[in-house]
């Protein structure tokens, strides 16, 4: 089974702190994604990546950056955390780009981030 792990299930940070959320997948997937989920808003895509060092903006990239130095690892960075970034963050991976495979995403358990 595909396994996607996230570094923390719960995280509490202070406004202005730099926050790193780590995601690792073990199935040699090409694609990786970062979403946030808020009540009433569903899942919203922040960034995605289809290869090492490659990234694409999603619907809500403002206030976030990402890093993909290794194929199995995709990091989400909050340069200066703000209270409106309090949310559930979900990482996902999917097989190689093209056709329908990039839509078959495998999700991690999520990180619930609270910014005080």
């Amino acid at each position: 089974d595909v396994k996607v792990t996230q570094s923390s299930r719960y995280l509490v940070k202070r406004t202005g702190e730099k926050v790193f959320l780590e995601c690792v997948q073990d199935m040699d997937h090409e694609n990786m994604f970062w979403y946030r989920q808020d009540p009433g808003l569903g899942l919203r895509l922040i960034y995605f990546s289809y290869d090492v060092k490659m990234k694409e903006k999603g619907d809500i990239p403002e206030g976030y950056s990402v890093s993909r130095e290794k194929k199995e690892r995709f990091s989400l960075i909050l340069e200066s955390a703000s209270t409106n970034q309090t949310s559930m963050y979900l990482c996902a991976s999917s097989p190689a780009p093209g056709d329908n495979e990039d839509l078959k995403q495998f999700f991690g358990p999520g990180t619930r981030l609270t910014v005080l």
């Binding site: 996607v4 569903g42 895509l45 289809y50 619907d59 999700f107 999520g110």
Partner: protein, 113 residues
């Protein structure tokens, strides 16, 4: 810009068949239709995917009419454990899709005893 529309919520009872319809009027020629299930405090889980006509697996069936402007997820004989949020996703991330697929708010299905 492609957009999907689903009912916000649905109620059903154990043993019944549940059909959840997703509208996607602006679906593009290369787009696939994918459905996910999400339980509380978990990430979404892939259920089924299709391009046209009907697809069936051990979990659900997916019906797609010829014009592909909508799709219907069918869950046979639901149980309490099928209570979850169901998302319809349309499009392609790669290569260079014309729009980014979005999960939206999904349909919250509650199955009653």
């Amino acid at each position: 810009l492609a957009k999907t529309t689903q009912p916000i919520s649905m109620d059903s009872y154990e043993g019944q068949e549940v059909n959840i319809t997703c509208s996607h009027n602006n679906i593009a020629t290369n787009d696939y239709i994918t459905w996910y299930q999400q339980f509380p405090s978990q990430g979404p889980r892939f259920i089924i995917q299709g391009y046209k006509t009907k697809v069936t697996n051990e979990v659900a069936s997916l019906f797609i009419p010829a014009d592909r402007k909508s799709s219907t997820l069918s869950l046979p004989r639901v149980s309490l454990s099928d209570t979850a949020v169901y998302y319809c996703l349309v499009g392609l991330f790669f290569p260079g899709g014309s729009y980014i697929p979005t999960f939206g708010r999904g349909t919250s299905l509650i199955v009653h005893p």
